[in-house]
Structure formats: C-alpha cells, structure tokens
Symmetry: none
C-alpha cells in the first residue's frame, strides 16, 4: 500500500531567510530509502493559530503527518499547544514525558531548568515518543484516519526518532512492503532535454518510470519502480540507460562526482596533483573535503599569476607570452610541468576565463582549457562554457574531475 505522507516543519527561522528547512529533505531521504514518498511539505512560522489550522487540514488529507520543530522550552515553541487546539484536546502535564525529561538531565549530569518542565505539557491522551538525544520528547496523536507524529526540530534528534518511531509504524501501516524504489544516475555533459531525447523510445521494463532533476551542472535521471521485484526491474532499466548514455553517467545514488573520483583514485593506488587557475582551488577543496583524501592527493597549485605558473609549473615565459595563460599549450605545459617536478602519477590542469571581465573576441568569457598528464596519457582540450562566473567555475571543476574519472575507468578496462 502506497502511504500518503505529509511533513510540516515549524520555525520562524525557516521563513525569515536565516536557514533553509533541511528536515523535510532529511525525512524524505530516510523514508525514500525504505520506499516511502512524501506527498506534500509545509513550512510555517511559530504561530499557534496557523499551525493548528494546518494540522487540521493535513490530518484531513493525509494518512500520516510528520511535524518537526516547536517542542523546545522557550515561549515561542508552540507546536504542542497548537496540536491540542487543532483537535480540541486539553494541554496537560504528561507524567511520562516529565519522567523522561528528568531522566535525560540526570543521565547527562545536567541541571534542569524549570523551563524544561514546559516540554511535558502535551495534548491529552497522546502517546509519548522518547527522545534519546535531547530534552524534548515527541508525541503521537491518532486523529480519525490520520496518524500525527511530532518530533523536535534539532536534525540529529529528529532523525533518530524517524528511524526509531516513524519507520516501524509506516511498515506496520503499509504491510511491510516498501512501495517505491528509486535509483539516481547523475549525468554530466548532457542537458536535460538532450538526455530525454537520447532516451526516447527506450522500452523500459513495465513498471519502471523515469524522472529528471538538475543539480547544476549535473542532470539527475531517476528510475523508479514498485513492488517486490523493484530492484531487479531497476537493474534491467539501468543497463538499458547505460547502453544509450553510459558515457555521461558520472555518479550513482548518493555518491557525488568528487566522491566517485576519490573512490576510484583510492582504489587505483595512484596519486593526484592539481594545477588550477580559473577554478581557483575549487577542485582541490572538493576533493579534500572527503575524509582520507590525503591517501591520493599530493598537492594543488592555485596559480593565478603568470609568475606562479612559471615558478611552480615550469611553464615557459615564451608560452605565456606567445600563446597566453589561457591556451591549450599552457594547460598542457601546466600539467606536464607539475608532473615532472612532483612525480605525482596523475596531474590535471585547468586554465580559463571565468569572467565577468577578462574576455576578448578571440577568447571570450567561458573559454577554458583542461589538460591531463600521466605516464601513459597526455591530453589537452579547449571548451567554451557559458553562464555566470560561479557556473563557469563549477562546470570547469566538474570537467576536470570527469577527465580524471574517464582516465581511471579507461585504465581499469582490460586491454585488448
């Protein structure tokens, strides 16, 4: 049975520009992994009346409503009060909740502020849901045909309670059969419409549907299937998609492109050094954000000035003068110079014009050259990207990673 689930995130900070609501996406991720899908998300400020009205509305429309936020000890935490009001229940001091709160403070050797007692004021006849990681217990209301679960807004506490309290109840309600599986294939180098047209006429296994999304500059292709054979159907669908556009699929599932490249590099045992000009250290920052990057990453040169390219990468003044720093010759010289001086296995160089200024008729903004050097490969190529400075830098950084990925894939392929 496909459950109809809604999420309501409560908090002023979500609607005044301070922070984005990440709880809805976190719940979606946990639910999605078990085959459940959220039908609707809502965000409201800490306003009792608005929350109560939304709760009544959502309870009338959905089978399960998950609420996060507004269970704290301060005056602007109004969710329990709003829930009581929404369904005409009294707000009462819940002894079980109070005992849980007291135990939390005792177990963590913390002094309990009298304010924390307020967190035990819950709607009459609710079920208390223990919060092992914080002071605010959650609670559950059964209202007509709807199950409403209330969790604290602190992401870590909320996530633990989704796993412990929500998922088992969803499995019980749905009969334990995850209704929907999804596989995400991340595409680089094809636009969304281009991807769709390349997949036109594909006879996917019955029951597999296809969806698209963009996480610039990547396109996400989503294959979905339901039922007991879902994973097998997705395997077959993925093979079909791979045959058509496999070259452009740069990551799968939750793995990002930098994570994919880091994994391949670690497995290869090879070392990497980078020479970045227009990307200004972005590739290095992405790769070194991954734990264990030091096993494969030797160094990166962010060579903005010509002197730096000459000093660290041994790019000759002649090349810089004749062809210029933004040229295929320079990119090639950067990669080979870096490899020769560092004895790294693979070096990659990026040089280009990210804009908004610095372009010319000959080399407009978006002109980017990439080069890769290894003991069995020397490649260099020019691109003309478009977009803002930030976009051009991002595409260029992804392209540099994609060069490394392709090199490692090619290298791992059995020779004829």
């Amino acid at each position: 049975m496909n459950l109809d689930i809604a999420v309501l995130a409560v908090g002023d900070e979500l609607l005044n520009g301070e922070i984005p609501d990440t709880n809805t996406a976190a719940i979606a991720r946990l639910l999605n992994a078990c085959g459940y899908r959220i039908r609707e998300g809502r965000t409201l400020p800490d306003q009792e009346e608005a929350i109560a009205a939304a709760l009544r509305e959502l309870a009338g429309r959905h089978q399960v409503v998950v609420v996060t936020g507004g269970l704290g000890p301060t005056r602007d935490d109004l969710t329990a009060r709003a829930a009581a009001r929404a369904f005409g229940r009294q707000l009462v001091l819940n002894d079980e909740a109070l005992a849980l709160i007291r135990a939390f403070f005792r177990d963590h050797d913390l002094e309990m502020d009298p304010r924390n007692e307020k967190q035990a004021l819950l709607p009459h006849k609710c079920t208390v849901l223990p919060n092992l990681r914080g002071t605010a217990p959650g609670f559950l209301l059964e209202q007509e045909h709807c199950l409403l679960l209330f969790f604290p807004g602190v992401p870590e506490e909320m996530e633990a309670m989704v796993e412990a309290e929500l998922l088992p109840r969803l499995d019980a309600l749905s009969g334990g059969h995850p209704p929907l599986c999804e596989r995400i294939l991340k595409i680089f180098g094809l636009s969304e419409p281009k991807t769709e047209s390349l997949l036109e006429g594909l006879a996917l296994p019955e029951g597999v549907s296809i969806g698209f999304g963009v996480d610039f500059p990547l396109v996400h292709l989503k294959l979905r299937a339901t039922g007991a054979a879902a994973e097998e159907l997705l395997d077959r669908a993925e093979v079909q998609v791979q045959r058509r556009i496999g070259d452009f699929i740069v990551a799968r599932g939750r793995e990002t492109l930098p994570q994919t490249v880091a994994r391949l590099l670690s497995a290869s045992g090879l070392t990497l050094s980078l020479a970045e000009s227009c990307t200004g250290g972005l590739v290095a920052a992405w790769l070194t954000d991954i734990p264990g990057a030091s096993t494969f990453f030797d160094r990166g040169a962010v060579t903005y000035s010509n002197q730096a390219k000459n000093d660290w990468l041994a790019v000759s003044k002649r090349i810089l003068h004749d062809q210029g720093a933004v040229s295929e010759t320079c990119a090639r010289a950067m990669a080979t110079g870096l490899r020769q001086s560092t004895r790294t296995d693979i070096t990659v160089a990026v040089t280009g014009i990210a804009g908004p200024d610095g372009g010319s008729e000959d080399k407009p903004v978006g002109t980017v050259f990439i080069a890769l050097s290894a003991n069995d490969a020397e490649q260099a190529k020019g691109y003309r990207f478009s977009g803002s400075r930030e976009q051009i830098r991002k595409i260029s950084a992804c392209m540099a990673l994609e060069w490394i990925r392709r090199y490692l894939m090619e290298r791992a392929r059995p020779k004829a």
Copy 2:
C-alpha cells in the same frame, strides 16, 4: 502595509531526499532584507493535479504567491500546465516567451533543442517575466486579489528574477514603504548565547529590536526597525553594538566575510598568497569566486604532502620531522617561505587536522595552526576547533580570512 506572501516550491527532487529546498530560504532572505516576511511555505512533487489544487488554495488565502520550479523543458515540468488548469485558462504558445528563449540560445551560441519550445507554453493572458540567466522564462498571473509569480527552480536564475521582478512589485503593492528595515551584523568568534550576554543591558533606541541567527560558523545579529526613521535608528543601534562587540563583527549586510576581505585587499593595493593544508584550497576557492580576485590574489599552494611543503614553501625537513606538519613552527615557516619565494605582500598559512582520522592525544582532531607573514608583521597561533571535518575546515578557512581582515584594518588605522 504588511503583505501576506506564500512560497510554493515544486520538484520531485525536493521530496525524495535528493536535495533540500533552498529556494524558499533564499526568497525569504531576499524578501527579509527588504522588510517582507513569508507566511507559509509549501513543497510539492511534479504532479499536475496537486500543484493546481495548491495554487487555487494559496491564491485564495494570500496576496502574493511565489512559485519556483517545474518550468523546465522535460515532460515532468508541469507547473505552467498546472497553473493553467488551476485557474481555468488555456495553455497557449506564448510568442513573447518563445522569442526570449530563442534569443537566449542565440546570444549564448547554443543550439536550441526543439523541446525547449515547450517552455513557451504558458497560461493564456499571463505576463511573461524575462529570465536573463537561463532558458525558462517566468510568468505572472493576476487572479482575483492575488498576484502569482512563477520562477524557474535553478537558484541563480530564480534569485535574479526575485530581485528584478518580485521586489519592485511588492514595493508597489505595499506603497513603496518597506514596513521593516533590517541590518545584519555578521559575528565570528562568539557563540550566540555569548553574543547575547555581551549585549545585555544595552539601551537600544526605541523601536529597534534585536534577533539572532546562525550561518555556521558565523552568528548573525539582526537589528530591526520600522518607519521613516528606521535607517537612522539602525545607525545609532549599530554604533552601540559596535562599541560592545565591534572586534567580532567581520561583515555587514549582504557582504560575506570573503567579500569583505576581497574589498579590503583591493583597496589596500597589496597582494596575497596562500599556503593551505587542512583547508585544501577552500580559502583560495572562496576568494577567487569573487570577480576581480586576480588584482590581489597571486597564488595558493594546497600542500597536502610534506614534500609539497618542502618544495614550494621551503619548509625544512628538520621542522617537518621534529615539530611535524601540524605545528606553529611549520605554519610560520609555510607563511614566511611562501612570502620569500613569491614576493607577495601578505602570505597566510593554515595547517591542521580536520579529521575524522589523524588525531593523536597530543594533537587531537581540530588542532589547527595559522600564520601570517608581511613586511611589518609575523604572527602564528594554534587553535583547537571542534565539529565535523567540514565544520573544522570551514572555521579554519574563516579564521584565515579573519587574520587577513584584522591585519588590513590594523594597517589602515592612523599611527599614534
């Protein structure tokens, strides 16, 4: 007049765990800076019927509804179709929109896929809103007493259109008087409760209220006032806050810390080079993301390996062996070595252990050393930060920028 505004974010990817909805928060931030507040946020998957029902509901409840997402060229982009259905309008090929799409492809030297024509299928009698940064034009519907604006979901395109198309209309609707002025002071080095306690007892001008937010690792202090004299009241309040915690205010308003440092560097006429170990190029990537960074940024060395520190920064093997790469001596040697070899005016070095592995009893995860070298300054200091790998890298990068900011401020101060 306080406008009643709602935001609807559309996209399967927002409710399946792929990505969080950051558009609502981005709109909230832009609106909040001009005194407007969002009353309700909704998120829906790409489902025509659900979107149409929500649009009708929101239009009946709010004065302004901002919709993002679902204007793309693929089959699952259904927002325009849903809008037409919601209000009983026909979906027609809009010539103005088609001309804008064609012009975008022509101006960017890109080939137009026939599918992109679908993006010109808009509800009858809508107003087309140009999108200067992408292919999907937005549109506007006037429906009874509600103004509905539809923007693409790509954050950058959406944000530009909020500024160009939404804000002027809100100002017109509200009588041109932003009901609420806000000034954000960005604090680094003080926690939220610490900031609050340092400001205790401050007699702010009547009508000025104070709020807090966190954008890790910065704390945002928000001063708010209403009415014609709002700006003047905020000026006075800011002076008071500056007197108490001025040393910790590292940026103001929309300017980020990297933008502040870039502005000060440009004004100083001095050049900068970086030596980054644990931050892995993050500081360089942040600074070079700012247009014109090449005027002050010479180069960055992402020296992960010891050999790299020896080659490019002339850190002696003795220091690396005796004190280790994560030490005050090494940080100092990195900064001075880089300055001597490059003749840059200012050099800054960061070396530390970002974790999750690599810590020891002596130097636990979070141990970070920073050094700055200039012709009139040589400084080095150790820190012990806590948090995840990503958090430690971010705090370290902010601290490196803060060292540059303080050096430049100190230098600009008239000598006694």
